[in-house]
């Protein structure tokens, strides 16, 4: 880095030494001393100097590497150092990334037909893509920090599960109902939090998520409590079951039955639901209501002065986001065949929120990429066993250092001048402003 050539090495070393000292203090107790219950129940402990030293060394070396990378690449101004050729190449990739991903997604069941594991993983990723896109309406567009999004996922899942098991209603009737019920709960959450923003809003939504979960656990007669709801019907292809029976799809088409049929069907179902979410969001963004959401994120006072009813704007954002969460929940229930409160913990909310933030708040493609990275990453690092979360956390920290606005921080405008307005150039050059 030409800016500070002399102080560079020294400051890097200083940072590294400080970090190493902090690591020494932290790890001396956490790692340096190993305690265990002895044979008679007494406390035995011994020192582990080797492990401690290696950890401190790793922190020291790591600090130097990170500082060097920081000075060479820079935290956020990366683009300036990238040569124009690479930049135009990236723009090219950027333009065709979304269609390419879509085509790839459509072909996944064809390519990986015999790999059940990959198909299951793809369904999981798509579920989170849909949840991410749903939460993106609330957090990314309207700027309302919602830590209880899993509540709507749960409402949707339980709506479908209970309606289907108690009344024998088909999936295709229950699916919109689950969406509507979740949207209603979204409005119910919205009302008390209308006046809250930022941290306060986050706390209340967090509590809301927990309340829903606790109600589900304790309302045994309705929800089965911690035992969950078993035997949720599988979805049918508009009345045709996808099983081994005589009137199943395989028998009707005269092909040999395979359990993969259902998996492929589920895959296309969630893909369709996710794409619906995406399409609706993109359409809404270009309508006044979508613009009002974004304006609300930017400046609430200005919104009111411009005649936007902030109450209805917030409630529609909550309702829309919740509806998509509910639809995803109904899908989750029919896919699993069994749901219990354990599936709807705060961790799910945090994961979906992380996907939205990592993707770049408001960016549809970014959210999809982030869901792929997060959920795919979980699986990718499975071989690392106990270090999985550590590696994963480090990867997230690194991404946030280099791309603080998320993977795709760019925001596409939604208003264009309809036609080239004829304003003579001399007027422009006159120097007004």
């Amino acid at each position: 880095m030409p800016a500070k050539p002399t102080t560079g090495i020294l400051s890097i070393l200083k940072t590294a030494v400080v970090n190493a000292l902090i690591a020494l203090v932290l790890f001396s107790l956490m790692v340096g001393i190993r305690t265990e219950a002895g044979s008679d129940g007494q406390l035995t402990y011994w020192m582990r100097f080797g492990e401690l030293a290696s950890l401190v060394a790793v922190v020291f070396g790591g600090s130097i590497v990170i500082e060097l990378l920081r000075q060479w690449i820079g935290p956020s101004g990366t683009e300036k150092l990238v040569p124009p050729a690479v930049q135009s190449g990236m723009a090219f990739v950027g333009r065709f990334l979304a269609p390419a991903l879509l085509i790839f997604a459509l072909l996944v069941p064809v390519i990986f037909y015999n790999q059940r594991y990959i198909l299951d993983l793809a369904i999981l990723v798509l579920t989170y893509v849909m949840l991410g896109w749903g939460l993106n309406v609330v957090v990314g567009l309207a700027g309302l920090l919602d830590l209880g999004y899993v509540a709507f996922y749960a409402v949707g899942a339980y709506s479908y599960a209970l309606l289907a098991t108690n009344f024998d209603w088909s999936f295709w009737i229950c699916l919109p109902l689950a969406g509507i019920l979740a949207a209603l709960w979204g409005v119910m959450l919205g009302f008390p939090v209308l006046r809250l923003r930022g941290d306060y809003l986050a706390i209340v939504t967090l509590a809301f998520g927990e309340i829903i979960r606790l109600v589900i656990i304790n309302w045994q007669e309705l929800t089965g409590g911690p035992n969950g709801v078993p035997g949720i019907p599988r979805p049918t292809l508009f009345g045709i079951p996808l099983d081994n029976s005589d009137d199943g799809l395989a028998a009707r088409l005269g092909i040999e039955y395979s359990p993969t049929h259902r998996i492929v069907f589920l895959f296309y179902l969630i893909l369709a639901l996710a794409l619906l979410t995406n399409w609706v969001t993109i359409r809404l963004r270009r309508l006044p209501i979508g613009r009002a959401w974004e304006a609300l994120r930017e400046d609430e006072v200005a919104c009111r002065a411009l005649g936007i009813n902030t109450t209805t704007t917030k409630l529609t954002a909550f309702a829309t986001g919740a509806m998509f969460g509910g639809l995803a929940g109904a899908f989750f229930a029919t896919r699993q065949g069994f749901i219990s409160p354990e599936s709807f913990t705060f961790q799910e909310s945090a994961l979906v929120l992380a996907i939205v933030v990592l993707g770049g708040m408001g960016s549809q493609l970014g959210v999809a990429l982030a869901a792929l990275t997060m959920i795919g990453g979980f699986e990718l690092f499975r071989g690392l066993e106990t270090y999985r979360m550590l590696v994963f956390g480090m990867a997230m920290v690194l991404i946030m250092i280099w791309r603080p606005r998320g993977l795709i921080g760019h925001r596409a405008p939604t208003v264009y001048l309809t036609k080239a307005k004829a304003i003579s150039s001399d007027l422009v050059k006159e120097g007004h402003g």
Partner: protein, 244 residues
Amino acid sequence: MTSPLLAIRSLRAAYGKIEALKGVDVEINAGEIVALIGANGAGKSTLMMTIFGKPRARAGQILYEGRDITDVPTHAIAHLRIAQSPEGRRIFPRMSVAENLQMGADATGCTEAERDATLERVFTLFPRLKERYAQRGGTLSGGEQQMLAIGRALMSRPRLLLLDEPSLGLAPLIARQIFDAIRTLNRQDGLTVLIVEQNANHALKLAHRGYVMVNGLITLAGTGAELLQRAEIRAAYLEGGRHG
């Protein structure tokens, strides 16, 4: 004489226990530019915001075209063709200039043709905005942001425009351009303007009439030229605040 476009009668407003407006009377006739001047904390911005219902008036009346709008919700006031360029501009920083302007038109429900005509007008007044229409609002300079804030307010095709400190933090040349644009709007489009300013000299030269506000009360009123001549105004607001 016809009844005023906006009439404010013994208006009181408070933040908690602190009373900011202690019975204010202001009248604005259609086609006028009215300046409201006063020191920091006199209640000028509060008056502006109370017209928009935030904070709510504790007592008194706000009559617009003869109709009592004191209790109309904030967002509904913009639909009465009153527009506001709030203090500190408050443009939407991550949205493009075109989107910011569109936001001004969205809530009032105009036709596309009306919107395009208004847009054309805004671009004629502030050609800079046309040059920068695809740029994010936050990347504009202070003067451009002020132009955008006024342009956004104009997009709702108002009869009455409330401007809160449009020259705040702007270079004198830019401030003059803003004031010129306001004068043009008033003369050519017949727009009625209430302008709150600390820059008393500029504001009073621009305005037909002016009010001076001190500690939540109107202490002086008169034509712009009259007020500019008064010794106490000159002392308090025009000559660096030296009294006596």
